[in-house]
């Protein structure tokens, strides 16, 4: 051994031993770890289940929480095969529930019972869902406690069969304490009390009386009628307290048996159902009124509708009758919507009178009738007569009449007119035949007619003026003489022309004066002129009926009288 090694031995012997020892421990530790890792699954499997589960609960939960935070995707991937079926199962359950609900809705909607419930909902104004709930809900009264109000001691308890036992005294005491606590904490006036509490589908109703309270533990959704029944029972129990003051505690056997009947859960449910049915029965009577009122309103509405329609039809019928009787119009159709629209379809001859005014005169309310008209040729006698007159233009001496399509032409006319229209008349549309009885006018007669026409024009320029009632003015007599001269000449010419002119004498008045006075004045002035003409030699045949009917009209033109000669009048 060299000096150096000896020196190392002396100086580092202790450290070397420590190092060797540490290496040995490390080797041992690694070996044990390997052994432990190999043995661990077997040890875990072999370990007692309960303590092992308990021991691993917290570390596993913490590890899982940490893994969710740090390796979420790994966890999700690992859980995916599990989550999928769970979700599908949940969806399937939900769909099953939905289908069940739909089945119920369909059943309620189309069955006689559903229709009855719908009527009930309509009659009572309660939503249909609430009516369905009312008739189909299921609930149970689990426990009923009759509790002495001050002490919280149980006077009587009743439970539905099959429920686990519970410490009724402790529960009643706590209910009383909590009720007092709520009353003390919440109620400002002190008169209110805890009436109900709900946890999930479990419901607690508390009804307070002066001496005792009724606590009712319910599963499901009870109807309001149950509360009414409970209140009624509580009142009955208080009445029995008053009747038997000495034995108001739970000691009296008789009272116990009465309470047992009154507070039996099944009996309470039955009484609630009976009460609900009774209320429904009672409720139906007054609810008939709205039905009757609606029926009455419906009848009134129908009556009003029919009356209105009838009125419309009557007016439209009037329009139809007027149109059917209108010459030259052929009604082809009418489209009518009562008090809304009226469209008239038809055919109108060009020589017929327009029909728009005819329709406009009928009262159709706010409806403006629409007229859709096409042209056509009418064969009606009045229209045919107008068409013939329009097309052949008969002179004054020719008379045109039509009967059953046969045209009668009579009188006198110039030869040119006769030759032109004798050929044309039978070709006019609608004319079946022409009965031609027009005589030609000679040259002398024609000249006389023309002279007579000229003379008539001159006569129209003359007039006799009066200064007052029938006193002629300054040139009145001169005008009269001119009239006489013309009329005497006219008599001669009329004889030659073969016509019988019609003389018309008309009296006039000016603006002032009443209608009665003016009418008398006009008549007097016309008669004055007629008398003077007679005096001057005018033919009595001309003067007969010569005073014009216009003299009865208040024309208010001037104070005077005029004479007119109508030479178009054919000689009889």
């Amino acid at each position: 051994m060299s000096d150096l090694n000896r020196l190392k031995e002396l100086l580092l012997a202790e450290e070397r031993e420590s190092l060797l020892s540490a290496e040995q421990r490390l080797t041992d530790l690694e070996r044990r770890n390997r052994q432990l890792a190999e043995a661990l699954p077997g040890l875990v499997r072999a370990a007692p289940q309960k303590p092992m589960t308990k021991a691993l609960a917290n570390p596993v939960a913490a590890a899982l929480g940490s893994a969710v935070h740090e390796n979420r995707s790994t966890i999700v991937d690992a859980l995916f095969p599990v989550i999928g079926p769970i979700i599908r199962k949940a969806i399937a359950e939900a769909l099953r529930g939905l289908m069940s609900d739909l089945n119920k809705v369909l059943e309620y909607g189309f069955s006689p019972r559903g229709i009855r419930w719908r009527l009930e909902a309509w009659r009572s104004g309660v939503p249909f869902a609430q009516i369905v709930l009312k008739h189909s809900l299921r609930y149970h009264v689990d426990h009923v406690f009759l509790i002495e109000r001050d002490s919280g001691l149980v006077l009587h308890r009743a439970s539905s069969p099959g429920l686990p036992d519970l410490d009724a005294d402790a529960i009643a005491g706590m209910l009383t304490a909590i009720g007092q606590f709520v009353r003390d904490s919440v109620s400002s006036g002190g008169g209110d009390s805890l009436e109900a509490a709900r946890v999930g589908e479990h419901l607690l109703w508390i009804l307070d009386g002066p001496r005792a309270s009724l606590a009712c533990f319910i599963s499901g959704v009870p109807p309001d009628s149950l509360r009414e029944v409970l209140a009624d029972r509580l009142e009955q129990i208080h009445a029995s307290f008053d009747r038997n003051e000495a034995s108001s505690s739970a000691e009296t056997g008789l009272q116990e048996s009465v309470w047992k009947t009154q507070l039996d859960p099944q009996e309470l449910v039955a009484a609630s159902a009976a009460l609900a049915d009774r209320e429904d029965t009672v409720g139906q009577k007054p609810s008939r009124w709205p039905l009757l009122v609606m029926l009455l309103l419906l009848l009134l509405g129908l009556a009003w509708h029919f009356a209105r329609s009838e009125r419309w039809e009557a007016r439209v019928g009037q329009v139809r009758a007027d149109l059917l009787s209108h010459p030259g119009f052929l009604l082809t159709g009418m489209e009518s919507e009562p008090w809304n629209s009226l469209v008239v379809h038809g055919l109108l001859d060009a020589d017929a009178e327009p029909v728009a005014e005819l329709i406009a005169n009928v009262d159709l309310g706010d409806v403006k009738p629409k007229l859709v008209v096409d042209g056509y040729l009418s064969t009606a006698d009045p229209i045919l007569q107008k068409r013939v007159a329009r097309l052949i233009g008969p002179p004054a001496g020719v008379r045109v009449t039509v009967r059953d399509g046969v045209v009668d032409l009579s009188g006198k006319a110039g030869e040119d007119w006769i030759s032109a229209n004798r050929v044309r008349a039978p070709w006019i549309a609608g004319v079946r035949s022409v009965n031609w009885q027009v005589a030609p006018i000679t040259d002398a007669a024609q000249a006389a007619r023309e002279a007579l026409s000229e003379l008539s024009s001159k006569l129209a320029t003359l007039e006799v003026s009066f200064v007052r009632e029938v006193e002629p003015g300054a040139d009145g007599m001169a005008q009269l003489e001119a009239m006489v001269a013309l009329l005497l000449k006219a008599e001669e010419l009329a004889e030659v022309a073969g016509v019988a002119p019609k003389l018309q004498i008309t009296g006039y008045n000016d603006a002032p004066g009443s209608d009665a006075i003016n009418a008398r004045l006009r008549d007097q002035r016309a008669q004055w002129l007629r008398d003077r003409l007679r005096d001057q030699g005018v033919s009595e045949a001309w003067l007969l009926d010569s005073v014009n009917a216009r003299s009865s009209e208040n024309l208010a033109e001037f104070r005077g009288a005029r004479a007119r000669l109508d030479i178009e009048t054919e000689k009889p």
């Binding site: 002490s151 919280g152 001691l153 009587h156 410490d167 005294d169 005491g173 606590f181 116990e256």
Partner: protein, 166 residues
Amino acid sequence: MSAQARKICMLGDFGVGKTSLVSRFVRQTFSENYLTTVGVKVDSKEVDYGAAKPMKLVIWDIAGKSGLDALNMSYLRGASGLLLVADGTRESTLRAAIDLLMQSRSLLPEAQAILMVNKLDLVERWEVAPATLAELRQTLPVLETSARLGDGVEQAFIEMARRLGP
């Protein structure tokens, strides 16, 4: 009802062991959280005290206070018996128990009262002198109890039942 029921109230200062005494005596139905929320916890126990029928004691464990407010007074209504609890290691709790008795008498003049001096297991540290207890025994029953060991607990409730019995 098979057993006659009577309401009794546990009264005493904070920390004297009322709840421990009740826990020792009854099977609890409700959580002790009610004591801090509502201020009371109710349990019941049937006591066979030698009579023909057992008696059911409905025990109202009222949260510890040295005085009674309106709410606590309402909890006392209808009680037949008062179990006053004091801590032997704190003489002030004995005075508080006596004060509570005096206050409750205005509402419950006829109620039976028993004083339970608790924590008998720590008797070496008691501040309450035996002479004081002897003096109190002349006016109301006094029982020394240990909620921890169970000493005297059942006897106190049986004594209450006996006094409330027919």
